[in-house]
């Protein structure tokens, strides 16, 4: 019989990073609620969002950590990276400064996650093309140089938002399939550097607590 979505096979942790006001929370909201949040308050600390998706017939639960973009939270934010399977790095195509800061965000992402973490570059606010401050080509070149996947999105219209989240999941899943992401290591009992950890659908895991 059709498995309910509660029977997901994996949980993937994502983090969303980038400067203040680039639209991180709005992207999350658009992805989980399919709605645009017009007056979004500043994120303090971390906000969570979850959604269950399907990749290659497997149900995967995304646990998305939406971080504060303000510089003063930067030190706190660093503690969120650990164990992320995917990182969405966001800038605002209408504000050049948010693009210029990408290298610093990328450094954090590289240093604080494991080598297999999939980093996805998102140029948000593609609906405001008239006010564009960063060309697509320029950002695409930056992404290629650094081995990132890149898309321009709009949290307002929803354009490409779904693709960014799903494409990231596909890449992570591919890494699991070809063995480059070692799940056993995650099960070693030490705080895992790598994610995801499998949660078998059947509940056959000895560690599964059904008490």
């Amino acid at each position: 019989m059709a498995a309910g979505p509660y029977n997901y096979s994996y949980i993937f942790k994502y983090i969303i990073i980038g400067d203040m006001g680039v639209g991180k929370s709005c992207l999350l909201h658009q992805f989980t609620e399919k709605k645009f949040m017009a007056d979004c308050p500043h994120t303090i600390g971390v906000e969570f969002g979850t959604r269950i998706i399907e990749v290659s017939g497997q149900k995967i639960k995304l646990q998305i950590w939406d971080t504060a973009g303000q510089e003063r939270f930067r030190a706190v934010t660093r503690s969120y990276y650990r164990g992320a399977a995917g990182a969405l790095m966001v800038y605002d195509i209408t504000r050049r400064s948010t693009y210029n800061h990408l290298s610093s965000w990328l450094t954090d992402a590289r240093n604080l996650t494991n080598p297999n973490t999939v980093i996805f570059l998102i140029g948000n606010k593609s609906d405001l093309d008239a006010q564009r401050d960063v060309t697509y080509e320029e950002a695409k070149a930056f992404a290629d140089e650094n081995g990132l996947t890149f898309l321009e999105c709009s949290a307002k219209t929803g354009e490409n938002v779904e693709d960014a989240f799903l494409e990231t999941a596909r890449k992570i899943y591919q890494n699991i399939q070809d063995g480059s992401l070692d799940l056993n290591q995650a099960d070693s009992g030490v705080q895992p550097k790598q994610l995801p950890r499998t949660t078998p659908a059947g509940g056959g895991d000895a560690k599964q607590c059904n008490c």
Binding site: Y6, Y8, I11, G45, L195, P196, K207, C211
Partner: protein
């Protein structure tokens, strides 16, 4: 913002509206043309003479009335959207003369529809008073107020509101009046509401309209004032509603009633001493026999057509009759809700006329009631047509309408003989015993109420026999208790599978509870394709999901997390657990009816246990989430 500011800036304007000065809307005509300002102004009448003084006193007490008091019209709008008077003006055509409350929100299209639907469509023999009702599309949003939402939660599914359709209840009068050019008065009182309480509002309009024609607008104003005293429309409660010097006693059925339950209304001694209430035995049930007598032989077939959502039109010369027929037809499948649109009275001026009569597409799935002979041609391509003669012509019609005409495309449908025009082959055999019983009753002058009750009970039983196997199958889709784990989301019921269900019909199908013979399986196949099935399944899913959330919540409460070796689990999994608990706490708060406060406290205690078990790093990460922080702080 300070209250001072409020009273300085906006109170006067708001209050004038709130106190119900009706806005003269005479300038709105169905054709959309505007009258000159002069004539519009002359139509403005002051509904409440004390409005100016009242609004000035409100300014001084704005403080209180703005904070907590119920404002005028608040209670009114729980029951009624507005009450209008539509008149036939020689120069303008149908025109909206008055709307109560004045601030009432109606779009131009809504006003136009009210204007046209307020009058009989092919008005020739309608001298005197005519009452009927209609449904029209709502264009001004689809929100409900708090009382209406509460009503929907407790009302049976088939009586829940449809937020995108209004009901209109009409009392039309046409009399000779020498003082008017051309010598005729043609006017309607129309009550517009979202609540499908057909009998109640018919009664209300029947009470208000004669008084209005007697003494003019003050009658409407007084009625509005009375309705503004009514308590919220809560299903399951017996009401005594004041209305124009009398009391209407009635009860809206509740979702929790037994099927076919009717609480007897009793006059209490105290009330009977000075004012005997009018007892309204049912606020919603159309009189089946009164409306459907001429087509009783077809009812079994019509029940099928309504059940599977076939396009169906009822033609009758009288709007009273056609609205009664349509309302009765869609009620045949209760306790199922008829989920398509239906129009008890539909005219060629309706804003959906083109959409619904288009010949380039298949006829839409809905039930229409029409009076205008023009529809004979317009709806010629519809597969099922019920034609009923004038109800007043008596028994002769009964016999005539019993005929079934095979519909063909050769134009025979232009026939005007009463009867059913359709090529539909029913899945179930006719219940001859029922026919005999009704016929005998008619011969022996059995009261129409009793005849109606027999029909109502019969179709309730047929519908239930049809639904019980589906209900039983649905119950078998529930997950097992042992599948519920604190580390997983609440489980969901398995998906509905038609073939799997049909396999159960042979052994435990409707045959167990119904004597009707026929191809039940074929009927199920058609039914599951209909919106009626979708609506039923969606409702049941909602109930099942709610139940499963509760079971999951119980498991989360009962789990001893200190034995689950949380530190050995991965961060992602722990965060997932914490988010689930947060979700459940939120669920508990928004469902105080089904989650006890002890359970809520327990969930919060569980959250504390988990936070105490995880390492400091993770704890500080989690506590930087504002929602979680607030939840935990609230506990401490």
């Amino acid at each position: 913002m300070s209250l001072q500011e409020q009273s300085d800036v906006s109170v006067a304007g708001v209050d004038a509206d709130r106190l119900g000065r009706p806005v003269a809307t005479g300038e709105v005509t169905p054709t959309g043309s505007a009258t000159s300002t002069g004539s519009a102004a002359s139509r403005i009448r002051q509904a409440s003479d004390d409005a100016p003084s009242a609004s000035s006193t409100t300014i001084s007490t704005a403080n209180q009335s703005y904070m907590d008091a119920t404002l005028p019209w608040d209670k009114f709008s729980n029951w009624v959207h507005c009450i209008c008077v539509v008149t036939f003006d020689l120069e303008l055509g149908q025109a909206l003369e008055v709307v109560y409350p004045g601030y009432c929100n109606l779009t131009a299209t809504e006003k136009m529809n009210i204007c046209y639907l307020a009058f009989p469509d092919s008005n020739s023999g309608c001298t005197g008073d005519t009452r009927f009702h209609f449904r029209m599309r709502r264009f001004s949003g689809k929100s409900l107020n708090t009382a209406q939402e509460a009503y929907d939660q407790r009302a049976p599914v088939y009586l829940q509101t449809d937020p995108v359709h209004y009901f209109g209840f009409v009392h039309f009068r046409q009399t000779k009046d020498k003082t008017i050019p051309r010598g005729y008065l043609q006017k309607s009182v129309v009550l517009v509401t979202l609540l499908p309480l057909v009998n109640l509002f018919t009664h209300v309009v029947e009470t208000i309209a004669p008084r209005f024609f007697e003494s003019g607008e003050p009658a409407i104003e007084a009625a509005c004032h009375d309705i503004d005293q009514w308590p919220a429309p809560q299903p399951g409660v017996t009401f005594n509603l004041p209305l124009m010097g009398s009391i209407v006693q009635c009860r809206i059925p509740s979702h929790y009633d037994m099927p076919n339950y009717q609480k007897p209304l009793v006059v209490t001694a105290q009330e009977s001493t000075h004012l005997a209430p009018t007892l309204l035995p049912t606020v919603h049930e159309p009189q089946l026999f009164e409306n459907l007598a001429p087509i009783v032989p077809h009812l079994q077939l019509l029940w099928e057509l309504v059940l599977i959502g076939e396009p169906l039109v009822a033609m009758s010369p009288s709007p009273t009759h056609c609205s009664g027929v349509v309302q009765s037809l869609v009620s045949l499948i209760w306790p199922l809700r008829y989920c398509y649109d239906y129009r008890p009275f539909f005219t060629i001026h309706d804003s959906e006329f083109k959409e619904y009569t288009s010949k380039t597409q298949a006829p839409p799935k809905l039930v229409l009631g029409v009076t205008n002979p023009f529809f004979t041609k317009t709806l010629q391509h519809w597969p099922h047509i019920v034609r009923i003669g004038d109800a007043n012509s008596g028994q002769a019609t009964t016999a005539a309408a019993a005929k079934v005409f095979k519909k063909s495309t050769d134009g025979r449908t232009l026939d005007t003989k009463p009867g059913l025009y359709s090529q539909y082959k029913p899945f179930l055999a006719k219940d001859k015993a029922l026919l005999k019983r009704i016929l005998k009753g008619a011969e022996s002058q059995r009261p129409v109420e009793v005849q109606s009750m027999i029909l109502r009970r019969h179709f309730l039983e047929v519908t239930q026999s049809f639904m019980i196997p589906l209900e039983r199958y649905l119950a078998s889709l529930m997950p097992l208790q042992k599948q519920i784990s604190p580390f997983k989301a609440a489980p969901q019921a398995r998906r509905f599978d038609l073939e799997e269900f049909l396999a159960t019909v042979a052994d435990s199908g409707p045959g167990l509870t119904s004597g009707l013979k026929g191809n039940w399986t074929g009927l199920y196949r058609r039914f599951v394709e209909s919106a009626n099935f979708d609506g039923w399944l969606r409702q049941r899913r909602k109930e099942v999901d709610h139940k499963l959330q509760l079971l999951h919540l119980e498991v989360l409460c009962a789990t001893d997390f200190s034995e689950c070796d949380l530190p050995a689990r991965h961060e992602v999994e722990l965060v997932d657990l914490v988010l689930k608990l947060l979700d459940k706490i939120e669920f508990a708060e928004s469902n105080p009816d089904s989650v006890s406060s002890a359970q809520r406290t327990k969930l919060q205690a569980q959250m504390r246990t988990i936070l105490a078990t995880v390492d400091e790093d993770l704890k500080s990460v989690l506590m930087s989430n504002m929602t979680l922080k607030q939840t935990v702080v609230a506990v401490q």
